[in-house]
Amino acid sequence: MSARTLTIVLFVVFVLFTLAITIWASRQTKTATDFYAGGRSFSGFSNGMAIGGDYMSAASFLGIAGIIALSGYDGFLYSIGFLVAWLVALLLVAELLRNSGKYTMADVLAFRMRQTPVRVAASISTIVVSIFYLLAQMVGAGALVALLLGIKPGAHFLGMDADTAKIATIIFIGILMIVYVTVGGMKGTTYVQIVKAFLLMVGAAVMTLLVLAAFKFNLSGLLGEAAAKSGKGAAFLEPGLRYGKEVAGDAAQTFYNKMDLLSLGIALVLGTAGLPHILIRFYTVPNSKAARKSVLWAIGIIGTFYLMTLALGFGAAALVGSEAITAQDKGGNTAAPQLAQVLGEKFLGGANGGAAMLAIIAAVAFATILAVVAGLTLASSSSLAHDIYASVIRKGQVSEGSEVRVARISAFAIGAVAIVLAIFAQSLNVAFLVALAFAVAASGNLPAILYSLFWKRFTTAGATAAIYGGLITAVVLVFFSPVVSGSPTAMFPSSDWHWFPLSNPGIISIPVGFLCGWLGTILSREPADPQKYAELEVRSLTGVGAH
């Protein structure tokens, strides 16, 4: 059996297994709480695993390993930002949100405000963040399929050339995520994420052990070999090859590069606690104590995973080498699967062992993408149905049954839109969309959430100003940045309308979001409702009246 066949067989097994769970979960899904929040029945550990499955995207697994393999230490910056970010969720958001909300992020933001304007703003932000993230994942999946299945340009697979296979993959993944969400709701999606997290952790752990074994568990030896093989020497183990580059003789560009690094760092650490698909996971547990436990488990799981990315990235640099990696994919996204192949050849014996390991890790990568896109689809369809349809359009006068029906239709619609957009975007470089999703979450959602929970005077005008101000600033700055136009790696490389020098808007847009929330509040004509704030505080801190 070739590696390609084995990859497909393993992936099909994963798909069938998760579909079976989804159908089983659909039988347990009767109420709106089941559909949106998995019946609030998951344990802290299960939800911690699911958070890991929701959070550790292909960008984490393949992307970070690839950046470390090609640019060395700088990839580690991502791992650290993605992990430290969980402290914001643990200390400031998870438990209070669990106690005061019901199904969506907007539940908390609109708690003491006028419903319509705040829910509309929160829903727009939820959908924008989720669609950006979704597009990056789906386009990434399309790009990966040709590489992971080894379809060379000009070659054919099941009658498809590489380009057709890309489109087929995007459609296939899109359909699967729609099925998981519409059929299984939050329960089905949660189980898919738990299974994926388990597979990803086992896969990464086996590879890490084999990498370390290859260097007789001598970390320094591994790093030395990686640095030597990279051709960049000691610089490979230091920050600066990719982010915050120093351009000799161009002080302005050097300054911008360093600002860009700071900007990225801030957005990574403040974005996580504003990602709607992460926030709704806190509703799947019975109480705030379980929400705390799930974040603690998530920190343990995600932290362990990001530590392993170090071994995977430097292992790929040392054992595969940058030449072989860039020959497959310039961005380095195939570094981890290629490393799996080399490890398989070394430890499992010959070409067959290598093919088997490659196939397993490629299948895990596809499972990873599926679990993340399902979570994103669920978050945006929940917000459309619960915030826009049930609260804004029907003013709460709607039966649970029809609300859930609308949520399923929304999941279908969002999935369909995502498929179409991803097909149009597949030839464009959209990798920046993940960073943009984090920036919007940190600039619009996080200020609104923190002010809502902790600032008594915060008003409706403040909430909408924070969300729109942060969202629009982040999107506009990126639109006029070098990642969209005016650079060889831009989304539109042949045009140039850029005037904002940074690729990451966070360093401007996050303060703007907080400032807008503050200004909107002090300038608003209607004062905050002290009784509603007292109710929010009592509920969020004691759990009284929590759903």
Binding site: L77, L237, K258, Q531, A534, E537
Partner: protein, 118 residues
């Protein structure tokens, strides 16, 4: 039913025990947030502006940058553990007690709870 008295929650929020719970939460999470954010910001700023320091080799091929990065993992795990312990000891018992008293209707009456006659 006085359960829905408009000022019910304000009465609870003004209760000294509740005020203590709010203070206990904020006393931990606000300084800790400033601490971990500053510590992380220091790491990012050093990565951008103090490359020579970050590149200092400690032993073998292990440099300051790697150790500093790993320390971010250590402090994240440590803060998570400290918070779990703090919440377990200082926050949960008070929150559970208040929750039980609110559910029992202690704050429902329009007047303050009657003094217990000894």
């Amino acid at each position: 039913m006085s359960t829905d008295a408009p000022d019910r929650y304000e009465r609870i929020a003004d209760n000294p025990e509740f005020a203590g719970l709010r203070r206990a939460l904020r006393r931990f999470v606000f300084p800790m947030t400033i601490a971990f954010f500053s510590w992380y910001a220091l790491y990012v700023i050093l990565s951008a502006y103090a490359r020579d320091f970050m590149g200092t080799v400690l032993f073998g091929n292990i440099n300051v940058a790697l150790v500093f990065g790993l320390l971010q993992f250590v402090t994240t795990f440590l803060i998570a553990w400290l918070y779990a312990r703090y919440a377990d000891r200082k926050l949960d018992p008070v929150a559970e007690d208040l929750n039980a008293r609110i559910q029992a209707g202690e704050f429902d009456a329009d007047e303050q709870p009657k003094e217990v006659v000894a």
